[in-house]
Symmetry: C2
């Protein structure tokens, strides 16, 4: 603590910027103490000992009539030895002071830089500059503990708690046994000065000898296809390493349904799936900690999001019940457990937080999407669609929020499509068709050139043109429709074969050839049907939610998920995947679930908020809604059999309706997909 | 639930015995419901479904003017089908009714047998008929859970909680992840009827399909020499199996000090000691569950007591700090953790409770002794001594309670004594010396005959007469003193050699021969000195506590511990191990720590009580008390240099004081025993 011998009865006025809070304090009061007493947010881990350097401030010299303060250079005590030492050890900008060391000797205006605030704002999403306030579950506290005394034989833990009460006002702390086992040695190694990590003000989860400034957390989005992890610094909120991998469960089944089938057919199979996802997560922990040079034992907090089946398997819960009606979750509540209980190789006392699930098909990933996109804070009526094998659909605003899932099937991910493939190098991702010549041009992943540009063939020779991925399928089918190749009811028009050699007979139906030659890429009539089925399911689900809110039109549409992020929103609307909307208000927002996980990692209140919120979300089970089938059939047409698309029409010239098949269509024969082993993605 | 069609508006008077509680209820009210509404204590696990049979009552017929009730046979509905079924399955005495089935049809007097009460009294100690009220941490609740519903997609756990709230008024329940992992299967196996075990009203720790009536707990006294375990039925409180074993840590050192030395000399040695004690406990779990035919997975609660070093090692805490001043405990608070965290092979979600420690030398075993003997409930000033290598001493009454430990050393346990041995077959345990002839007679463990009785030699030929155990040493030295062989200052009187060949010269000192021939057993001068040192430490500790309370005399003395239980209290007082007291008020009370552990297992409030109480216990550290050395030297004499023993003199004729050595004595040269590696027992 600084020398207080200068303290006299005289008082000075101090004003803190940018909060504008001000007050009078006795001569010699440390600036940090004045800030505390005024409720000004300044960070400190060391408790005013000049070690952590988190309490840095700037003094502003001059006359501030607004605050009634004239701030002189001499209003603070001189830069002292403790500050000098800190400056030599770390970086302290010229003019910056440690507010725990600087004493008030005259009226002063003090500027608190954003980086010195506990509750500083951090940007979690570059795209829309979304900021959240730092308020992580783990806080570090440096503390000096009384040595044991034979005359007052309390335990080391009890003396640590007494010191935390006295120095940090923390009460009723618990302690994990693993920490207790290390406690005595750490206290002595640190000569009775230690830093403790406290989880949500209630539980000590790690203890270091002496001063420690570093604690880390991970935000993990466990998708059925990929697992993504961000390693975050829990003091700055910064992402210091990120990594992703294919979910190792894929070896037991490409999609969720096949994995649940695997469990049902192979007793004990759930253990293998659990082991697979956990080992994947541990692999990512090794990667991100190696990259950031962080000790995995310093990972003290983890947040997991995932769909219900991923959520259950990670927790070691057999997902069989989620494979059939009534799709019962083992639990829908948020959970906080030890990371070691899910086999994580972080610190064993790392607390792992699982966001709540919403329903049997609408999981913690959707809760995270809601947290990220925050439709509940807006008046605009927002439709959010996480596009995948199973689409999660959220609709609402600050008054009501509805959620549902719709069984779109894997067509959007390139499965069930003749030339379909995953979004990887060589996959066609963009397609344009000349409405006059019906000639296509396209781009493949791995090259910036269009296929009709010079050098395309050279540049793509190595990667090849291997197939067509989800976004490419959307575009080619939409372009076929816009060019008149495809009728409103989804039939490739054989009459066009006379106009272009690209349209070829294929038995009783026709195909459209995007690329001929050795590696021919064609869109068959069956491919169009698969996309129609998928997009009709999506539209029908959204329409059901709109019905519940008596809505004809939504104000805003956000597409998320690995596929949803790459989609061209215009073509999605041309196809009728989504309802009509002002195209400017339709966005692909990236991996919102991952952003939601990071928000929950950095902000406690966000956890409380989403836990309360999901209770109010109205869950719609599309499978049992009587209108679903009719909505589905109507949505088979492109863009839709009955719904007008006035907003879309302003931006795109839609062809006149043309029907080529009889009204029953193939869609009418569609079997309901959600059977015994079908489930959410 | 019983048929309620009989319900009419008419009301009847019902009186419950023995509580005397009474009230009026509508015709057709189940007797159990009337009891609940009146606050009459009747047990039920099944919640009134006629399954558990815990709510049995008797109806008493006749006129009870005191209660204003005339009770007729027809005042209850007829014995019904549910009761008939129960009777066929289990035992239901003739005339007994299930109170959940019997409906009130007229005024009635109902007798609630003790076995039907939740808070029934159980005897925990045969010796003094000590009774405690059943109030275990684990309660069983049979519950019917709603099936999942797609329209209201809450998780199975949330529906279970809702049912427990509605049917048992339990709220905010948590659930261990291992239980959650089994939850869905158990609910379906039980067709949505399950029994849950709830720990202290807050946490579900086990779930069974359908109805289950059985839960068990273990009370474990972890001594440095022996580990004792009782397996208890948590509904009746009955001990259904008990077992004990040598503490396997003995291979690392006979006494506590040598074990702590082992840890200090062998890095990682604490892990071996922890592993040893845990494997011992698991061995006992296997024994008691096999004997009682109980599934170890049904052990849902465990209570552990032990001295600080045993306590720490069981918890996996390095005991090094307890090996030297200031003897700092890692924690002194009571703890509740998962049994799996201390490696127990019970149910992994079994909750393990550790009683609080009092000080570095006064452990959870002493807390258990206090709970068992309850000096804090009495006006009598009670001195309790747990005799061992380190003696724990408690003194006080319902106003104040003091505790200390005193380093007696291992002499009382037969160590440091030439012919000393553990209390096992062949050890001399009782000795009498004829004051005229100075001839001894004795008894050995394993035979009921005295050595001067016919057949003694034949009966002991097989077991032999192998040495002398602690209680034998106390008696022979006390008898030597009473017979005049030993002076007041502890010198074997060489002048007596002329009177008897039993006193023999042995260099510059003399010995007393108890048994001659091949297996000679002798008491040497050094043996007497060892016992003097031990008993002086004990007396000095007790005297220090009496000083703090300004006491000249205590009202009652209780000796406990493995050795303390076998001691003849008269001889203990002749030797001056304990202060003067009315001999009728001096008792050996058996293994009080084990009884205390059982009390904590069966009664929650006892846990709360002892946790609060230990905070008020005044801890005296004998090692740093200035008077200890002087008290110690004065207590070297037999029975004491200065303290008169008026109460003892009434019962025993004490010889006139006789001093044979110079006043400094060997005692004055005694080194303080409590060095770097010495600690409590």
């Amino acid at each position: 603590m600084p020398d207080r011998s200068l303290v006299k009865k005289k008082t000075h006025l101090i004003a803190f910027m940018p909060s504008g809070k001000r007050g009078r304090f006795p001569n010699g009061t440390p600036v940090l103490e004045a800030a505390r007493l005024l409720g000004v947010d300044i960070d400190s881990v060391c408790g005013g000992r000049g070690i952590c350097g988190r309490c840095q401030v700037d003094m502003t010299v001059g006359k501030f009539s607004k605050h009634g303060v004239t701030s002189h250079k001499s209003s603070l005590s001189a830069f002292n030895e403790v500050e000098q030492k800190y400056k030599e050890r770390r970086n302290l900008k010229d003019g910056r002071r440690l507010s725990c060391q600087a004493l008030l000797l005259g009226d002063a205006v003090i500027d608190v830089p954003a980086t010195s605030q506990v509750h500083k704002q951090v940007v979690v999403k570059q795209a829309d500059d979304r900021k959240i306030e730092m308020d992580p579950a783990i806080r570090l506290h440096f503390v000096q503990v009384l040595e044991p005394d034979m005359h007052n034989p309390t335990g080391d833990f009890e003396r640590l708690c007494a010191a935390l009460k006295q120095q940090w006002d923390l009460e009723n702390l618990e302690c994990d046994i693993r920490t207790l086992q290390k406690l005595q040695k750490v206290l002595r190694d640190g000569h009775w000065s230690v830093t403790v990590a406290v989880h949500r003000g209630t539980r000590i989860t790690k203890i270091w000898p002496g001063f420690n400034n570093q604690a880390y957390g991970i935000a993990v989005d466990v998708g059925s296809t990929t697992i993504a992890m961000h390693l975050c610094d829990l003091s700055t909120g910064a992402v210091i390493a990120s990594s992703g991998m294919m979910n190792p469960q894929i070896r037991y089944g490409e999609d969720l349904m096949s994995r649940v089938s695997y469990v049902m057919m192979n007793p004990g199979g759930e253990l293998l799936l659990t082991e697979a996802v956990r080992s994947g997560i541990n692999g990512l922990i090794a990667e991100v900690t190696t990259e950031a040079k962080v000790d995995p034992d310093d990972i003290l907090n983890a947040v997991f999001v995932g769909n219900p089946i991923m959520h259950h398997l990670l927790l070691g819960i057999d997902p069989t019940e989620l494979g059939g009606a009534p799709f019962a979750l083992a639990t829908n509540s948020a959970m906080t457990i030890w990371a070691s209980e899910v086999g994580m190789t972080s610190n064993p006392d790392c607390r792992a937080y699982f966001l709540p699930c919403i329903a049997g098909h609408v999981g913690a990933d959707t809760a995270a999407v809601i947290l990220s996109e925050a439709p509940y804070l807006q008046e605009q009526m927002t439709l959010i669609i996480d596009v995948g094998t199973n689409a999660e659909i959220v609709l609402g605003n600050n008054e009501r929020l509805l959620a549902a899932s719709s069984p779109t099937g894997p067509a959007f991910e390139g499965a069930q499509i003749s030339c379909g493939q995953r979004a990887a190098a060589g996959a066609i991702e963009r397609v344009r068709i000349d409405p006059e010549t019906l000639e296509p041009r396209f781009k493949v992943i791995g090259s910036d050139l269009w296929s009709d540009e010079d050098g395309f063939e050279e540049e793509t020779r190595k990667i090849g043109v291997t197939g067509i991925c989800g976004s490419g399928i959307i575009e080619v089918i939409a372009e076929m429709y816009l060019a008149g190749i495809l009728s409103s009811d989804g039939v490739i028009d054989g009459a066009m074969a006379a106009k272009s050699p690209r349209i070829v007979a294929d038995g009783r139906t026709f195909s459209y050839v995007i690329r001929d030659g050795e590696s021919e890429i064609k869109i068959y009539q069956t491919d169009v049907r698969a996309i129609q089925l998928a997009k009709a399911a999506l539209y029908a689900g959204a329409k059901l939610l709109m019905d519940k809110l008596d809505l004809e039109k939504v104000d805003r549409i956000q597409l998320t998920g690995a596929f949803g992020s790459h989609i061209d929103t215009k073509y999605a609307m041309v196809l009728g995947m989504i309802p009509d909307c002002n195209l400017k208000e339709v966005q692909a927002v990236g991996n919102a679930a991952g952003v939601g996980a990071r928000i929950a990692l950095l902000n406690n209140s966000a956890r409380d908020e989403i836990e309360e919120l999901v209770k109010t979300v109205e869950k719609i089970e599309t499978a049992v809604e009587p209108n679903f089938q009719q909505y589905f059939v109507e949505a088979m047409a492109i863009p839709h059999k009955t719904a007008p698309y006035p907003e879309l029409s302003k931006a795109v010239k839609l062809p006149a309706p043309k029907m080529l098949s009889d009204t029953s269509g193939e869609g009418g024969r569609r079997r309901r997909r959600r059977g015994k082993v079908e489930a959410a993605d």
